[in-house]
Symmetry: C2
Subunit: 372 residues, 2 copies
């Protein structure tokens, strides 16, 4: 097996973890391989606060073979070098006698400098960065690097990129198969859906996961609502206020938008964030607040104003684009993308196709949004 | 074999014909099958003015078996019942003694009533209409029913459905693979490309087929040019006026737009068509004129004004939609689709996906446009 293959195997171990159990920690897998190429230890990070992957792998290896001097360690993420909930993995690696380490990705956390530290200790450490190891922790890396959730953006539009006709009607631009796919494969992956008060009130949106033949699954919702319209009496019965136990409706208002003694439904949490002179939410503040609330991966399903605002401010990492099989051919229809910022083709946003699927006459394109 | 399978086999024979050799006649294939299910005669229409498919198949069958009383005929298109270049096939079928006929599609030509006529003669005639038999002659059927060419429309746009940025720059929205596909698989299929004087002059378009590693292939061009700008002196050297032998540049002007003594380049043909008060070409007249010029299948590659005008007037039968991997996110960019006609979602144009392909980060969707 090549180093890449051992790293890939470690990556497959990492994926065995339950996202909710480890969050906000990254997925990590590790294997120890002896001089004959035999895997004598495996491990993956299983629970936040518990042992790291390297510890499992090295402990198992030691139980087979006291001397790891001729063994190599393959780990999907740079080993930690600081005291967190557990002691630094770099110490354990050095103590184990392992002389060669392959690392599948670097840890963007500035506290983690295991790569340099192990090198300084004389260990032959090699970076084997693979598409799979980067993908494995795309949420964690984004959280660390951008201090905000990993943001998925979903847009369902006509062939001419309209999300509603001139009357505002958008039901239905895409077909049932596409809509089911959103519930079963996209909403299920995220910690919360973000929308705006306007969209949630007008569409009477529920923003949960509805999968045919299964019970509805509750989902956190984050509603951008500068003035707190969601909490006005006439909106008290909106479908989004369904009976919740472990999920919340996070309402993002401007500071002091609500009265001090405002009574809140049980499931509501208020997040106060600054809005600018154009009534646009401060995305830096919002990103940090969402991480603090334990929302590491969010999905924007909103109108074109907020979607385009997020895109324009590099606050979207991937786009789930659904193209219904209609052409409205009407300049008064509502565009899916909107901005008045003059952009030349040479400076336009560049995306790459992750995959494309056809649902009857709808086409779904999953785009990765390249960072600028 | 089922009747459908025999018709499909006849359809595969039909496709052996060279489109240019038979045009404007349809593709037709036929087989005669004996009582044991053995195919004893096959044929397809090979050349305009020559024998029809049924004649070949029946002649071959007779050479094996004088008596066709217990045989069946499978033919992809309703047999002709009128004297054209050849005598009516219905006469031959009756004379042959065949008692059972399966027909893969009806002939929209009102002169052809073979189906009814054979039924009246006591022949058991069954319509086995298949997707393949309709597809086989989509050009012919459209020519007959709509008295215009079969119209393909090609659009290359950004994800937000823009065909140029606010400065008019469109090079390049799609990648080289997409552009090569247009030349190798779309332009090669048509009798002419239609564009407008504006597009041809601004883009210095050649509108031929350029396939890497092959010699350029000449292609007829039809240029909508009400006032005859294409013939102004400063446009005499446009790339579209390349050295042509068998192809022409058809310039569509309003009647009397040109001076009587106007000198024309060798390859130019003028088609005079009425334009309405909005300077829009009369599509009914244009359709007939193009058929008269021997252009049975045309490809629109023009700006959004003409493309949308054609779409809006049901003058497009399929859409080749290429989505480049950029988002311009600028309301001032040029939209791919434009019209000021208010349209509700429930009345919007409905398309169906024929196929979808990915060229690196471009997505190509081939849509069939459902007739209203």
């Amino acid at each position: 097996m090549t180093p890449e293959e051992y790293v890939l195997f470690a990556s497959s171990l990492a994926k065995k973890a339950n996202k909710k159990a480890i969050g906000p920690n990254p997925f990590v897998g590790a294997v120890v391989v002896d001089e004959k190429g035999i895997i004598i230890g495996t491990g993956y990070h299983q629970k936040w606060g518990d042992k790291h992957a390297e510890v499992y792998a090295i402990e198992e290896a030691v139980s087979h073979n006291q001397d790891l001097t001729n063994c190599s360690l393959y780990v999907t993420l740079e080993p930690c070098s600081h005291h967190g909930k557990t002691p630094p993995c770099t110490d354990l690696i050095v103590q184990s006698g392992i002389k060669k380490v392959f690392v599948g990705s670097l840890d963007p956390n500035p506290k983690v400098s295991g790569f340099v530290l192990l090198k300084e200790k004389g260990i032959d450490i090699v970076l084997v960065e693979l598409k799979e190891t980067l993908e494995l922790n795309k949420v964690f890396f984004t959280n660390q690097k951008k201090q905000r959730p990993f943001v998925s953006l979903k847009i369902a539009a006509t062939i001419d990129a309209k999300i509603a006709d001139y009357t505002g009607t958008s039901k239905w631009i895409t077909n049932e198969e596409s809509r089911n796919f959103v519930h079963a494969n996209i909403r299920t992956e995220v910690d919360a859906v973000i929308s705006t008060a306007k969209t949630v009130i007008e569409d009477k949106a529920t923003l949960n996961c509805r999968i045919p033949g299964q019970e509805n699954v509750a989902l956190n919702a984050v509603i951008i609502d500068r003035t707190g319209r969601m909490l006005q009496e006439q909106n008290g019965e909106l479908p989004i206020y369904y009976n919740r136990t472990n999920t919340h409706v996070f309402i993002v208002t401007a500071p002091n938008a609500l009265q001090k003694n405002q009574l809140l439904p049980n499931s509501v949490r208020i997040i106060e964030i600054d809005f600018n002179a154009n009534n646009e939410v401060n995305l830096n503040q919002l990103g940090k607040a969402l991480l603090d609330a334990g929302l590491y991966h969010v999905l924007i399903e909103a109108g074109s104003m907020f979607s385009s605002y997020a895109l324009e401010h590099q606050w979207a990492d991937e786009l789930h684009y659904f193209i219904g099989s209609k052409i409205l051919l009407d300049s008064a229809a509502k565009p899916a993308f909107t901005s008045t910022h003059p952009t030349r083709l040479s400076n336009s946003m560049q995306l790459s196709v992750v995959k494309s699927l056809t649902f009857k006459d709808d086409v779904y394109i999953h785009y990765k949004i390249d960072s600028l």
